[in-house]
């Protein structure tokens, strides 16, 4: 292909992924969260805007666009403003390596990098940089505490997550996400690696700062944590980053453990991927409204004293089976 067609393709793909994530993950995700929380609380949730409240988030976004753009006087403006760019961008970079489905022309993926899994591990941990910048730049005590907690938490849970990713890479013999999905056409890796799947899901919940690991934005003690000082569209961009990251984590769990787009031939592959993705998102939201919050020392202990030893043992056992029993 000539270079300008490649460039057009890359730009087109970027625009499709960004608007797709903004609409499906952020707008629809927030609505889904509110509806599911209402359902679990035996409430109705949003009902007024649009049919059955479907347009609630659209209305909220329009409202946020009209809001004043407040920057606190004491804030460090450069850090304060650029944190907003980094958080959603880091979350969206994850989508480069996520294969959404299979078509006649090949897998539906932005780019099948040969180090896909490593790329995902790297970009998903970039979010913490944005969160720390937001916490520091706001010059607000709540925000600073939230940012520092986030750094400790995300750093702690990155190790078990990476160890879980390595076991999958070992089974598939590749770091490319498409190869990993293809290797699961007969057996999903959740069957071969149930422990790694559990570790990945727990670590993913902690990485996206959701209950029971939402110490970073614990509203009863830290107001809103690192984004206390953000209002209007900047707040919306943090929301985009947060929900984008959650959907990316769920999509990666589907790709690595739940067979990606594979499923019985009744439905097209893309639909299978979406069904599994939303099933996992539902589990995330269900957990949110079921469990209370951890304490910060319990949270760090759980990662260092439970998850990491278990993940290391799991890695050794997997390596034994892959390299010695069935070489």
């Amino acid at each position: 292909m000539p270079w300008y067609l490649e460039l057009l393709r890359a730009i087109g793909g970027t625009i499709v992924i960004f608007s797709g994530v903004a609409i499906v993950a952020a707008m629809f995700g927030v609505l889904l969260e509110r509806k599911i929380s209402a359902w679990i609380h035996s409430r109705l949730g949003p009902t007024h805007v649009g049919p059955r409240g479907l347009l609630q988030t659209v209305a909220d976004t329009i409202k946020l666009i009209q809001k004043e753009n407040i920057v606190p006087q004491n804030a460090d403006y450069k850090i304060f403003a650029s944190a907003v760019l980094i958080v959603p961008l880091a979350a969206l970079l994850d989508y480069v390596v996520i294969p959404f489905g299979q078509t006649r022309w090949g897998p539906l993926i932005f780019r099948d990098l040969n180090i896909g899994v490593l790329f995902f591990a790297a970009t998903s941990s970039l979010v913490v940089v944005g969160i720390l910048m937001a916490g520091w730049g706001s010059n607000n005590k709540y925000a600073l505490l939230g940012g520092l907690r986030s750094a400790a938490q995300m750093v702690s849970y990155e190790i078990p997550m990476a160890l879980a990713l390595i076991t999958v890479a070992m089974l598939a013999g590749s770091l490319s996400t498409v190869t990993i999905v293809n290797a699961q056409s007969h057996l999903w890796y959740i069957v071969a690696q149930p422990i790694a799947f559990l570790i990945f899901v727990i670590a993913a919940t902690a990485e996206v700062n959701r209950v029971p690991f939402d110490l970073v934005e614990a509203e009863s003690e830290l107001v809103a944590g690192y984004f206390s000082e953000y209002s209007g569209m900047r707040f919306a961009l943090f929301q985009l980053g947060e929900y984008g990251e959650m959907f990316a984590m769920a999509a990666m769990a589907v790709t690595l453990f739940l067979g990606g787009w594979h499923g019985p031939h009744l439905l097209p592959p893309v639909l299978w991927f979406v069904i599994k993705l939303y099933a996992l998102i539902f589990v995330f939201m269900w957990v949110r409204w079921t469990y209370p919050r951890f304490r910060i020392d319990q949270l760090l202990n759980f990662s260092w004293k439970v998850l990491i030893p278990v993940a290391l043992a799991n890695l050794v056992v997997t390596a034994f089976f892959v390299m010695v029993v069935h070489p």
Partner: protein, 118 residues
């Protein structure tokens, strides 16, 4: 190979533009009516006391030190994992030694109390 990273670069550049777009829109259309009280740092409704940038006991710095050690070692595991199947039993015992040293590091940090809430 280089083309792959070209795609990633385009994604990052066009992506930053798309994230910056709503900020440009609000810069153009959002109302401006700032006064000193509004621009004050939020502190639960009471007047702000001092700066947040003061001396602060970062209780988690030991975790970040242990993290750096672990993260660097995990980077070495990725290339090994990809070719693990072709390497066979001997490489397994080799990586076992590596992992035992890694685990010893964790045990040392644990016994030293680096993983305790200080």
């Amino acid at each position: 190979m280089l083309l792959d990273w070209g795609y990633v670069a385009v994604f990052a550049i066009v992506g930053s533009g798309m994230v910056a777009l709503p900020l440009l829109v609000i810069w153009l259309i959002s109302p401006r009516s700032a006064y000193p009280q509004k621009l004050e740092t939020y502190e639960s409704g009471v007047p702000t006391i001092g700066q947040a940038w003061s001396q602060f006991n970062v209780r988690y710095y030991l975790f970040s030190l242990v993290f750096v050690v672990f993260d660097v070692e995990i980077i070495y595991l990725y290339p090994w994992a990809v070719v693990a199947r072709q390497l066979g039993p001997f490489a397994f015992y080799e990586i076992l030694i590596f992992l035992v040293i890694l685990t010893l590091g964790l045990v040392y940090a644990w016994r030293k109390g680096a993983l305790e809430w200080v």
